[in-house]
Amino acid sequence: VKRVALIGMPNTGKSTLFNRLTGSSARVGNWPGITVDLMTAKILVGAHMAEVVDLPGIYDLHGFSDDEGVVRRFLESQPLDLVLLIVNAVQIERQLPLVLQVRALGLPAILLLNMADEARQLGISVDAEKLAEQLRMPVSMIAAKYGEGQTAALKQIAHALDSSTPVPPTALLSALSEDDHLVQESAAMVAQTVLIPARLPEHLSDKLDRVVLHPWFGLPLFFFSMLMLFEAVFWIGTPLQDAMSWLFDQGKTLLVEPAVSVLPQFLQGFLLDGVWAGLSTVAAFVPLIVLFFLFMALVEDSGYLSRAAFLTDALMSRLGLDGRSFVMILMGFGCNVPAIMGTRVMRSRPHRLLSMLVIPLSLCSARLQVFLFLIAAMFSPRQAPWILLCLYLASFATAILTALIFKQRYVSNEPFVIELPPYRMPTLRQIWLRGWVEVRHFLHRATKMIIIGVVCVWILTHVPLNAAPAGPDTLAGMLGRLLTPVLSPLGIDLKLTVALMFGFIAKEIVIGAFAVIYGMEGGALSAHMATQMDWMQAVSFMLFTLIYTPCVSTIAAIRSESKSAGFTLLSVAWPLALAWGVSFVFYQSARALLGH
């Protein structure tokens, strides 16, 4: 197998080309010592089987950013047969030095000048033959988005692989001092081979930007489009989620229940309410993740995400984050899981970690269901909206507090310099591939952990077997009694503690857990709960529910995205501590001030 690596600057269409070449066969590959996901795929090029690796976009082989470190480590540790250099033809003038840096390493390389269509529109022309001659490497003009020039490029790749032998990895240091020399060389090459019109025609992007980035309308427009986006995700997603859970319910009653009916009672419960319930929890996220990433691909590939960064940076920079995390935090108000996965658009690891710490504090739609139930049970219709508004405000406040506390710990070492690509129309194929790859990634990485979590909670609430499920004699009840000294200052009693344990699986099931714990349903349950606690206890319980661990799926996502057990532990421990603190302060001061 020959190994081929894709190298190029951000926004050169590198991943688009990778998807073009490999279709949906791409997998997330594991490479020793590398902390970001690299997509790889095996494809047939001519007579050769080639393993293609999509390396992160970099500006400079000698740069200090996280991604630049990843590419350097990769090049220093893996033998390569060929490097495909992707350059945005429109920006060839400033991207050519990177090509010369790679050539200086002595790696066999092919230069692909992408976005030939945009270059034509702007009147930029490149003499590819002359450039190939000067660079001493093959050069092709392509438009990866439309597959233009792909056949010719593949022929060149196959030809290059015919004679290639793997080049062993070498240390890449030193060359730094020669960079100025490379810049001069590249300027000379560009002068001889590239024709750039003295005055570029005004792009459609400039006209759109005048509206989208308008000092007054820009932000409202951004909020409006994000709102529409989330509504679309949930408007389409919720029925699909319902369909998915119906499917799993049917599967349970028609297939699994008869299949396990011969087993002893305990095993039946374990398989049905533990393992199968875990599987359906995973399945319930699939429609949301597909939809979220379909829309995110639209936002990102169209170039709007960088504009969102421009619009919101004033606020986010003060919180130690950048504008791109704003979009993810907003998305967290729908569902935390895809929002955590979406932090991948941030290229600096400290920023990603800080965002992952902040996102779970967003009041997601699952928590909203619990709050709606409790608020309806405990408060009058006139009070209800205000209580809910206060919970949203608490969600913002805890998120801001968390960012302010941890921003010193997660300082990005990268300058905030983001390219603003022109607006582009993403193709359906691009968007679809993105959604598909992300779902597979989620299933692959998160399924095991979610099922383990669900099974653990089932065991807690059902062992020993002779006790009433979720009752005081089960493991959960005993654990709850152990926790009583900790949670009773918050006004949270034993039954509510057990409900919080259920809430660890997913917040949606807390209401179902109430039904099991109190042994009632619907209106009777609401009425009974209103007699069991006062409004201070209810608010304290909701504050705790808002802030502590969102759900096992979120933790699984954080684990797979951060690739760090220590960070995952922090992301569980910090919200727990914060939840306890906030509920304690609220409950005790409310008791002290308002009495009884």
Binding site: S65, R94, W216, F224, F310, L311, A314, Y392, P415
Partner: protein, 120 residues
């Protein structure tokens, strides 16, 4: 209560709160960098292009990234707009648009382009 209806309404509340929040930030964060030298100060001249300074054009951390993006001495660049709420600048250099924060822009030395020389 109809859940989806409420969800929609509170999303709207959410957006309103965020806008208020940003407006408050704006009052606090208005033009804190106006006195800084360098690129951010050159905005007084509107969209007039400016040229990057010769030696010592870059100071501090962003230098490497900026030079990889084509910010090299002698190049001509143009500030297209600045973000509200003391947000970042949108700068055009050749065929590339980038956004950079005021704090970073302040570290870039520029001087006006001599008359008639803005096509370089």
């Amino acid at each position: 209560m109809d859940c989806s209806d409420i969800h929609l309404r509170y999303n709207a509340v959410l957006i309103l709160v965020l806008i208020c929040f940003l407006a408050i930030r704006w009052q606090i964060g208005r033009n804190p960098d106006a006195r800084l030298p360098g690129l951010s100060a050159s905005l007084g001249s509107g969209r007039r292009p400016v040229r990057l300074g010769q030696g010592g054009a870059f100071r501090g951390k962003p230098a490497q990234r900026l030079s990889a993006l084509g910010f090299r001495a002698g190049k001509t660049l143009q500030v297209l707009r600045r973000g509200t709420l003391a947000g970042p600048l949108q700068v055009r250099l050749g065929t590339t648009d980038v956004i950079l924060r005021l704090s970073e822009a302040a570290q870039i030395e520029v001087r006006p382009v001599p008359a008639g020389g803005d096509t370089a």
